[in-house]
């Protein structure tokens, strides 16, 4: 099935509602960063990722590594919309007997390609998967979603060197550049700028986009798929908390769950199409 950009917008809207529901019912979770990367994840899963919901271990599948693992609500929302997991499970997020662990658990959740949560490791993992693909002559792609705070971890740069050294053109990374981390603005806590230049210097194919524009996300992936020599990184300018007016660009919504009053306002905005 072919999805139009309008279709993607509708799916993303449902996903935003799913994200809100998960975090609210758990009274816990990372809502800001989930809302900033959801449009990227929706585009990947509904326009590009070659996956099989009936065979989550299919050896030729494209992989998606959520290196910024704390944004599991975003991943779980998309997996639910796609059909890997039951939508009913979403309300069990972070609860004691749920498979929907606080951070992605590859052992128990169909569709999760790697357990993550400790930042800085996903790009190395993506490289490992890409190297396996090359050894086995499988031409799947490996998508890897990084956080902007996350690139403060040194291991990311080790992995960047590796990806370029081994010419892993099957690695397509995204940087969810929402410019906020827990202690404030990324540029104030530990400046990562100019991050696009940094990745270019590390021999990546760098594409810069608006991370909430489906056409731009789509075109960037198409372009990245054509790259023959280098790993790609799509630096997506995003808004933390995107879609819920009072959360947009506010650092505290990194890991704070909305209370009832905020939840009702947010729910209403998402249902009536409010801000988007």
């Amino acid at each position: 099935m072919e999805y139009s950009y309008n279709d993607l917008k509708k799916i993303a809207s449902k996903c935003r509602r799913n994200i809100l529901e998960q975090v609210y019912s758990a009274s816990s979770g990372h809502i800001g960063g989930s809302l900033s990367c959801i449009d990227i994840l929706v585009t990947i899963y509904f326009k590009h990722a070659n996956v099989d919901i009936n065979n989550s271990k299919w050896e030729d599948r494209d992989r998606v590594i959520l290196s910024k693992g704390h944004c599991s609500p975003a991943l779980y929302s998309v997996l639910a919309e796609k059909g890997f997991i039951d939508k009913d499970l979403l309300k069990t997020f972070r609860k004691k007997d749920s498979i929907l662990q606080g951070h992605p658990d590859m052992k128990h959740i169909p569709g999760v390609d790697m357990s993550s949560g400790s930042l800085g490791q996903g790009l190395s993992v993506a490289n490992g998967i890409a190297l396996a693909g090359r050894m086995d002559k499988r031409d799947y792609k490996v998508f890897c979603i990084l956080g902007d705070g996350e690139v403060q971890e040194g291991q990311i740069w080790e992995a960047a060197m590796t990806a370029a050294h081994y010419k892993l053109n099957n690695v397509i990374a995204f940087l969810d550049y929402n410019n906020l981390q827990i202690d404030g603005k990324v540029e104030d806590v530990m400046n990562i700028a100019n991050v696009a230049d940094k990745f270019k210097a590390f021999n990546f194919n760098v594409i810069e986009i608006d991370g909430h524009d489906f056409e731009q996300i789509d075109n960037a992936i198409i372009k990245a798929k054509q790259e023959k020599e280098k790993p790609s990184i799509i630096i997506a300018k995003t808004i933390k908390g995107k879609g819920i007016s009072f959360m947009e660009n506010v650092a505290k919504w990194h890991g704070e769950a909305p209370k009832e009053e905020d939840y009702r306002i947010a729910k209403n905005e998402l249902e009536t199409g409010g801000v988007i």
Binding site: K107, D113, Q121, V125, N127, A132, M135, D136, Q155
Partner: protein, 310 residues
């Protein structure tokens, strides 16, 4: 004479021949870790990450998710220390099939000194759920350990050392995961040990025999899962248990044995090892003597203990 790291290099190359899923990773130490033998034969299955151990272990995790059997090597101090979080969160937590063949463990690293001498790696690795920990002492047991590691479904840490050693076992010896090997049947002293100090305990055994003291040596080649039954049986039979290790006395074999016995069969034990201090530079055999880990020192300690009885 062959070092266990060299036995590893050979065993790995043989394994690579038989199994196409074996892939090997190194962090610029392949001539020291001996992965270069595999690398020269199977260059398309060898990945050098350069001096980047965290990257190496997480890359190994990625390969494991695709059905590969990665053997990742570096010095024990860097494998267990620097890449700890990657081993914990990207390998042990998702229970991925990565084998960490860590060479140059203990003070027998020698001249490189303290920053390179891993004295806490057993402690660190044994505390990780899903991890199997193996410490073979010679060429025969190392070859078994590497083959066994490849068969185990899940993470394995294999502790290997730098110096050349004699064979303790013969070609036809059978080893079982989680089951000790026993050398000798003395009832006065049992040395519980593994790795390089197996050789020193054998020397001590000979010295003690001349002194009328009869020794058995327990090779704890599988540190985890530990052979609780054998440890308890040993405590029931011998007069004294002495644990011997090229490792901190905190958290290594001594602690493991004390753990088992206090729960199952409370017994006073004696520990010989590195007494919660860092190592230093020197020739490996001189360092063993300096830290009380050579055959003579071990024998003297045993005599001291026996004499206290009288």
């Amino acid at each position: 004479m062959i070092a266990t790291r060299e036995s590893y290099g050979k065993a790995l190359a043989e394994l690579g021949e038989k199994n196409n899923n074996i892939v090997v990773l190194d962090a610029d130490l392949s001539s020291a870790t001996k992965t270069k033998e595999f690398a020269s034969k199977f260059s398309d299955r060898f990945i050098n990450l350069g001096i980047a151990e965290q990257d190496m272990l997480a890359t190994a995790a990625g390969l494991a998710t695709c059905g590969k059997i990665p053997f990742a090597s570096t010095f024990a101090v860097f494998a267990s220390g620097r890449a700890y979080d990657q081993i914990r969160n990207s390998i042990c937590y998702p229970n991925l099939n990565v084998k960490i063949a860590a060479t140059h463990a203990g003070i027998t690293v020698g001249e490189d000194g303290a920053t390179h001498q891993a004295l806490e790696d057993i402690n660190i690795m044994k505390s990780l759920p899903n991890m199997t920990v193996l410490c073979p002492c010679d060429d025969i047991s190392t070859k078994w350990a590497i083959k066994e590691a490849a068969e185990i479904n899940g993470p394995v840490y294999i502790r290997l050392t730098r110096p050349k050693v004699e064979n303790i076992y013969d070609e036809n010896e059978i080893f079982q995961l989680g089951k000790v090997k026993v050398i000798g049947d003395g009832k006065d002293i049992a040395f519980i040990t593994n790795g390089i100090t197996m050789h020193e305990c054998i020397k001590a055994k000979e010295i003690l025999k001349e002194n009328g003291i009869n020794v058995r040596i327990i090779d704890l080649h599988t540190v985890k899962p530990v052979d609780k039954q054998a440890i308890v049986e040993t405590a029931k039979i011998v007069k004294h248990i002495i644990t011997v290790e090229d490792h901190n006395v905190i958290g290594g074999i001594g602690s493991i044995v004390a753990d088992v016995l206090s729960e199952e069969y409370p017994t006073k034990i004696y520990k010989i090892g590195i007494n919660d201090e860092f190592g230093k530079s020197g020739k490996w055999n001189e360092l063993l003597t300096h830290y009380g880990l050579d055959g003579s020192s071990i024998a003297n300690k045993a005599i001291e203990i026996i004499n206290k009885d009288k």
